[in-house]
């Protein structure tokens, strides 16, 4: 299941979609909104996605993960829109026969998603806003 949604993500529901009687491990990554960045208070984040391409890119990542690890189930759910500190922005869940594969596959999926999926976030501070990592001088400080 790949989902880009403006609605609150129910982590348990994502986990339920990967459950399998053949699985000995379910591994879940939950990304949450941090209340600070570059020493400033984050009031909220604005997430935006190029949805059709993001789904296509995530599917490619899942395909690659499926070739490298014996995935029994997998799910990726990503929030877009306005998120406050503490809210869940992304959930990746995988199930595999044994735990080592589940850790590796889950980490590969979230790391590659962050690198390739066309999804962006803007940090909104008390006195300004900034698209994350867009320009070199800001990336260097991050």
């Amino acid at each position: 299941m790949i989902k880009i949604t403006e609605k609150h993500i129910d982590v348990q529901k994502v986990i339920d979609t990967v459950s399998s009687l053949a699985a000995g491990a379910v591994n879940v990554f939950v990304g949450t909104v941090r209340n600070n960045a570059k020493g400033k208070n984050v009031v909220w984040l604005e997430y935006e996605a190029y949805e059709t391409m993001a789904v296509a890119e995530i599917r490619k990542i899942i395909d690659e993960a499926s070739q490298r690890w014996p995935l029994l189930g997998w799910a990726v759910s990503h929030r877009i829109g306005t998120l406050k500190p503490g809210e869940v922005s992304v959930v990746v869940a995988v199930s595999t026969p044994h735990r080592k594969d589940s850790f590796e596959a889950c980490q590969f999926i979230i790391d590659t998603l962050k690198e390739k999926a066309p999804i962006w976030k803007k940090e909104v501070f008390e006195n300004g806003e900034e698209w994350v990592s867009a320009r070199p001088e800001l990336a260097a400080k991050a």
Binding site: A117, I119, W120, K121
Partner: protein, 79 residues
């Protein structure tokens, strides 16, 4: 040819909206990049800028057609 360009993230601010129309003399992604850089020099200040054609990252020498879905992909920051 006249191409419709989708903008995301910070490129929306640079292009002045979610979509821009570019009159392109050349035919490739590289030609489009040169045209965009000339028209919107702020793009040159980005850490990276990919151009997606039909929902896939494109090479600079890829040929463009009127019906292509073209999008600007500034540095991504999902997760």
């Amino acid at each position: 040819m006249k191409l419709k360009i989708k903008a995301f993230g910070v490129t929306k601010d640079y292009l002045g909206g979610k979509e821009a129309v570019i009159e392109l003399k050349g035919q490739t992604v590289g030609d489009l990049r040169a045209e965009l850089n000339e028209r919107y020099p702020q793009l040159l200040g980005l850490r990276s800028l990919y151009i997606a054609v039909n929902r896939d990252y494109a090479d600079e020498n890829q040929m463009l057609a009127l019906t292509d879905e073209i999008a600007l992909i500034p540095p991504v920051s999902g997760g």
